[in-house]
């Protein structure tokens, strides 16, 4: 992958759209993806980003505070969601009135709303159009974005981490003896797949898989979507180990239920073996640093034993909730949860809101696994007196807490046994404790006590989660 920065960074002063005048003077100078010469004297302080990937990358680069607004789809990280929203299908005056010194778009926007973009330019606002069509163009794109925001050093650091992350996954999965074959569904109508060289296709390769639709040609030039069809899926059905469906605002592969219900699909190995997975398009098709997470997810779908290996957690030490969330997501191989609706933060809910923990931030190493375990209802959280949400990552896990998780995640029936439990009266949910003791998931101590408040160890969690089918 090309890591070289192809844009020019000059020391200098005022920027104008006249190459002869600006030569060697503009601090930031490059040609954007709509062919415009961009010259900026200094990094932008008030940025409006009309594309969610730009917003996300600016936050990753540490330029979140410079973002004063974005498109309605800019919901990651959560702190971007409450910022002012703008729509390129709407009135450009709203954007102009906010007085940004930079508006970020992508070529799709300038094609869809040329008058909107023109109005901004006429108002004297610097508009920059960026979009990396291939993964190879990602570093160049990030470097341009970083230059516009004055975050070049952070970009260099993040791009190294990005590359290292992809290589680490490739190294891990290269150890697999049985190379997995994947079918990647991008739309359920006509069962389309992804084109050779597209981000999802590259992700399959990074994740150590073989794309059954290898060599698929894009439907139109530059598109990541390619024709495939149900017939060819069924022809190749026995060879498809893993079936991945991409869902989100722009793509709509089927879900587990709809894919399983399709005529003849029960002959596809992945469907037969329950290896159909849904991945959020934001993780796999969007040019952001989260792409590494998307690749990691594909690798987890294909090689769960390698990717979800918990040997590093084996210990008789008491576990924290952070460990608990990690172990649950890994041991149960739960795909990480990412909300996709742009209205997600506008909805009222009694449950936890993604990304809103005061003590777990989106850049936390365990963010995805904690969010996923909480979203699944497997790990508790609390609302503080300040009305904010807390995960309490360093607090412990009790036997009863573990029992509740195992019962919710598993498939247990009441038994006739009805083992006598001396301290059942101290248990919050007697039915769950009774069923799990009767099912042999938990043992009682020498006094016949369950000990609901006793803290559990890593090993006890791993052991109990083995009962979850």
């Amino acid at each position: 992958m090309c890591l070289a920065a192809l844009f020019s960074v000059f020391a200098g002063c005022t920027a104008k759209n006249d190459e002869t005048e600006t030569e060697g003077k503009a601090a930031i100078s490059f040609v954007d993806d709509d062919g415009y010469q961009i010259n900026l004297g200094a990094p932008a302080k008030k940025i409006i980003s009309m594309y969610s990937a730009h917003t996300e990358n600016l936050y990753a680069l540490g330029a979140g505070e410079q973002v004063i607004g974005g498109h309605t789809t800019c919901i990651f990280p959560a702190e971007a969601a409450p910022k002012a929203t703008y729509d390129y299908q709407g009135d450009p005056e709203y954007v102009i009135a906010a007085e940004p010194d930079l508006v970020l778009i992508r070529p799709r926007i300038s094609r869809a709303a040329p008058e909107f973009v023109e109005s901004l330019r006429n108002a004297g606002i610097t508009v920059v159009s960026l979009y990396p069509n291939t993964l190879d163009a990602f570093p160049d794109y990030i470097n341009k974005l970083a230059a516009l925001a004055g975050k070049e050093e952070k970009a260099e650091e993040l791009l190294k981490v990005f590359d290292a992350g992809l290589n680490e996954i490739s190294d891990l999965t290269s150890k697999a003896e049985d190379k997995q074959t994947v079918f990647f569904e991008s739309t359920e109508v006509n069962i389309r797949t992804v084109a050779e060289g597209s981000m999802p296709d590259m992700a399959i390769k990074f994740a150590g898989g073989k794309n059954i639709a290898q060599g698929a040609l894009p439907m139109t030039e530059g598109s990541s979507i390619a024709e495939f069809g149900a017939e060819r899926v069924l022809e190749n059905g026995e060879g498809i180990d893993v079936y991945v469906s991409q869902r989100g605002a722009m793509n709509a592969g089927g879900n587990l239920q709809s894919i399983s219900e399709r005529p003849g699909f029960d002959t596809v190995s992945a469907v037969k073996n329950g290896r159909v997975y849904v991945i959020n398009e934001k993780l796999i098709s969007s040019p952001t640093f989260r792409y590494v997470k998307g690749v990691n997810e594909l690798a987890r779908f294909m090689y769960p034993e390698i990717m979800d290996d918990v040997s590093a957690y084996i210990s008789d030490e008491p576990a924290t909730k952070r460990d608990f969330a990690n172990l649950i997501t890994r041991c149960l191989h739960i795909p990480v949860y990412v909300p996709s609706s742009s209205k997600y933060y506008l909805e009222n809910r009694d449950t936890h809101t993604y990304g809103m923990f005061e003590d777990i931030h989106w850049y936390d190493h365990d963010f995805d696994y904690i969010e996923t375990a909480v979203y699944s209802g497997y790990v508790s959280w609390r609302k503080g007196e300040d009305g904010k949400e807390y995960f309490d990552p360093d607090s412990g896990v009790t036997r009863e807490g573990l029992a509740k998780t195992v019962f919710i995640a598993g498939d247990f029936s009441a038994k006739e046994a009805n083992t006598a439990i001396s301290d059942l009266g101290k248990c919050g949910n007697k039915r769950i404790v009774q069923i799990l003791v009767d099912n042999g998931v938990f043992e009682l101590d020498e006094n016949g006590s369950f000990l609901p408040d006793k803290q559990v160890t890593h090993n006890e969690i791993i052991q109990a989660l083995r009962f979850v089918k």
């Binding site: 109508v189 709509a252 709809s258 936890h352 979203y375 209802g377 019962f407 919710i408 069923i435």
Partner: protein, 312 residues
């Protein structure tokens, strides 16, 4: 959702005035007709009474397979039962219409577009059959959307939603009891999840619960996602029965987003998770009401009543 619908309604009405139908075809002569002819056309029904259609109006779903076995199955049953009528489809959810068009390239009319097309195609006899469970906001809005076009048909009649008459309630209780007989054991609670509404029609749920109770199905429960009875109400009611197992089913025509996520989802706050957290063994059944042949037959009966109500 209301505003975009209003805007769309305005655009569509405007386009009607311009003589453009939703599918881009020109209705006969309207644009080029001299003013006096236009006036005389507006005074009489535009359509041919022998050109008969049934418009089946559903909320819609973006789950393609589910749509095939529910909405399309109802439409199919109606088509089979009324061979003299052309059966057409409209959805009321613009969000779903837009999603299906953008995602799948499927073009589905909203109610106004469907009405405009029926008029443009010269249909003079129309039966409108909603697949709604009750006469709530969706039903009211559907009738409001159709009202401005009523005079364009010589003969128009409305079929009723699923649960209106006492006979409807009795029939639904009987169909659901039969369809769930395999789960109906002493230690099992059978819980239906309805949508719920702020409309007065929300009383439908309490009435259906009463009908189940009266028929002796005391382990059958009705709750709603967005109104009363709430999930908490149902959990409390189930608790009193001493049940060990809970079977969850949608009381909705299609098993769509609500059924997959709010009811059966492996997520915090879903009915499955909440019942499990309360210590029950839970079995979700993702089968929309529209999948039951008995329910499809009821809609055919409702269409029949509407056909019978047409002017002779």
């Amino acid at each position: 959702m209301k505003n975009p619908q209003k805007i769309l309604a305005f655009i569509l009405l405007a386009s009607l005035c311009l003589g453009l139908s939703a599918c881009g075809k020109k209705p006969p002569e309207q644009n080029s007709a001299p003013p006096e002819e236009k006036e005389s056309e507006a005074q009489k029904p535009a359509g041919d009474p022998d050109k008969k259609a049934i418009l089946v109006v559903s909320f819609g779903t973006s789950y393609n397979e589910t749509r095939a076995v529910t909405i399309e199955a109802i439409e199919g049953a109606v088509t089979k039962a009324f061979p003299d009528y052309e059966v057409r489809r409209a959805f009321t959810s613009q969000i779903i219409i837009d999603k299906l068009e953008e995602r799948d390239g499927l073009e589905i009319d909203n109610v106004k577009e469907a009405m405009e097309r029926l008029i443009a195609d010269g249909v003079g006899t129309l039966v409108v059959q909603p697949t709604h469970v009750m006469n709530g906001f969706e039903y009211d809005e559907m009738k409001e959307a159709i009202a401005p076009y009523e005079d364009s048909f010589k003969n128009i009649s409305y079929g009723l939603p699923l649960l209106i008459s006492d006979e409807d309630y009795a029939e639904v209780v009987s169909i659901l009891a039969d369809e769930t007989a395999e789960y109906n054991t002493d230690d099992t609670a059978i819980v239906f999840m309805g949508h719920g509404t702020e409309h007065e029609a929300n009383s439908t749920y309490a009435k259906l619960q009463q009908k189940f109770d009266d028929a002796g199905y005391t382990n059958y429960f009705i709750g709603t996602v967005e109104a009363e009875p709430t999930l908490e109400d149902v959990v409390a009611a189930v608790e009193k029965t001493g049940a060990k197992k809970v079977v969850l089913l949608p009381l909705m025509i299609v098993a769509g987003d609500h059924a997959n996520n709010d009811m059966a989802g492996d997520e915090e706050g879903s009915w499955k998770t909440e019942f499990k957290a309360a210590g029950y063994e839970v079995e979700p059944v993702l089968k929309g009401l529209g999948q039951y042949e008995g329910i499809q037959k009821m809609f055919v009966e409702h269409v029949q009543a509407a056909v019978d109500a047409l002017k002779a």
